[in-house]
Symmetry: C2
Subunit: 344 residues, 2 copies
């Protein structure tokens, strides 16, 4: 049983006692305990060992006092489960042995079933829901972000190959996006069935597209994903970086919660997407390194912009960074929880 | 004498016969002739040899038929001229031998005079204005973007060190920004005095700041730069990447032309900043790799969003990429010049 459901209440824009807070990438290298575990296991090995993975997922919940857990995993996990040769290379990121360049590679992508492809993920979720007294968030990368890695073969700054593929081979692009969308939808629904109470869809890099390209080449494939999860009753959070110009287009997908990076002020984000959404965000991650009084002012500014509207979930505007200190993140949680959500 | 002044007319929002077009980084590795020159000279050596530098600057004007030349240089050039040890490392970018971490380093920065620090730049400009029949654009990096390299020591994805410095040492940060602003203002004015007919101030990476941080830590130092150049009568273009959320704040600086990356649609950019500005941009650079019909549709879409208003300068939303073909960029110029700027 959940002792603390303020995260889920905020997802549904219900009244809460305190603003809920969690952090993207809240389990990671900034934690001494995590670094110790990483001496024995690679990132992918952690994901593949349910007991270790559950321990890593629980760490920040206990350590920081956040209001939600997020499954420790990687957006590449289901692709590896499908048999694609992808490694997470230290200080680089995901690297594919054979980037997608031909239609045959797209045709050869197998259908996805989490019980077969990534049984350890579902097992981790089942362990976690027994252990946790806060909600568990499942997640997946969105098709564009996954495709960007699959086509580029590795992290990119210019998205040249993936956009060129999209412009030059729209039919094959459509097939790739459809297959990935089917995988993502199935994967998220199976995470909910295994026990996740909410999910987040990371389209981390979609902000590199113009609005017209987003609506032509990406959004059509997103509708069925969001709809499939919504049909389960679990709230869906949708997040990307640099998406200020896409927020109105993304809102048309009707996620329950729109995640916003630190560039778009929360009040402005709400103005763009309208009142029918909860909003998640959006402290500039680097503010965590600021002196205490600057950090406090910035946390308060985010809360002030949320304006005590129901439906604010506090988070960083992007993931936790390895150089952060546990104590600074604890301080953020304290500041958020100390903020009066009702006029006093 | 200028044979073609449509670029300058557009900067001043005067009526033009065709939309002027030039490209950021229009001289570079995509050109076989440039690659040949680079076999003999490093990038910095080109900048330091006026005859070679003038030749490189002229190359794209002749090859592409663009309506303006931009001085071939690097935003690091004046910093090197001031004696800072910075190298442009292939496939990395600018790397500083001694990143700025202490107040003494800031205090030790010498005052700037282009005649002493970078006489070759002024000499290149003097050669070019004799040769060119289109306007010559001078340029400089803005203080935040320069400081980001100086503090981080090299290109960064997270701007952790520079923002932390800004938050933690606001007084020293202010000294650094003031010194850089004085340098940039002087450098730009001296470029105009040597013959440049317009200048562009690149605050390429300022889009990584929140609007509040931009207004607190950056904008105060920008006003004197823009004012100093405006006092010469030469138009000022101000450009950054990922600045959709900052455009209204940046417009308060009153540049003549606001450069916009490809993420903000031009009609939306104009709506944000109001009608008192010319606008430069903003084709997604990767569109240049698209099949001809897709490229044409995208060029036309940019022109259509400019809506035949006086004061549109066509450009890419960021710099030319090394993998582009000369012929594709020639095609973009042809498409822009073929577009009827008045209702027919």
């Amino acid at each position: 049983m959940l002792k603390n459901d303020r995260f889920l209440r905020a997802c549904r824009r219900q009244v809460v006692d305190r603003t809920p807070v969690w952090f993207m990438r809240q389990a990671g290298r900034y934690q001494p305990e995590y670094r110790q575990i990483r001496e024995k296991y690679t990132l992918m090995e952690i994901c593949e060992h349910p007991d270790v993975c559950a321990e890593v997922t629980l760490l920040p919940v206990r350590q920081l006092g956040v209001d939600a857990a997020i499954l420790f995993s990687d957006i590449m996990t289901p692709l590896r489960g499908m048999g694609l040769k992808v490694d997470i290379v230290e200080n680089v990121g995901p690297v594919f042995e054979e980037p997608i360049v031909r239609e045959e590679q797209v045709s050869a992508l197998p259908p996805f079933d989490a019980e077969e492809a990534v049984p350890y993920v579902l097992e981790t979720i089942r362990i976690l829901v027994r252990e946790l007294d806060v909600p568990l968030i499942g997640f997946a990368g969105a098709p564009f972000t996954l495709a960007s890695y699959m086509v580029e073969g590795r992290p990119t700054r210019d998205y040249r190959k993936v956009k060129t593929f999209m412009y030059s081979e729209p039919r094959v692009w459509g097939q790739l996006m459809e297959k990935l969308a089917a995988m993502v939808a199935r994967y998220l629904v199976q995470q909910v069935e295994a026990g996740c109470q909410a999910v987040q869809v990371f389209d981390s890099w979609v902000g590199n597209l113009t609005r017209a390209d987003y609506e032509t080449y990406v959004r059509p494939y997103m509708y069925p994903i969001i709809e499939a999860v919504r049909a389960t009753g679990a709230p869906v959070i949708h997040f990307g970086v640099n998406t200020g110009h896409l927020l109105a287009s993304m809102a048309d997908l009707r996620p329950d919660v729109m995640g916003v990076d630190w560039r778009t002020d929360l009040d402005e984000a709400w103005r763009i997407i309208g009142p029918d959404f909860a909003v998640q965000g959006n402290l500039d991650p680097v503010a965590v390194f600021a002196p205490p009084e600057v950090l406090e002012a910035k946390v308060t500014d985010v809360l002030r912009r949320a304006g005590r509207r129901p439906g604010h979930i506090f988070n960083l505007g992007h993931g936790v960074m390895p150089q952060m200190s546990v104590s600074a993140l604890q301080r953020v949680v304290e500041l958020v929880h100390a903020y009066e959500v009702r006029e006093v």
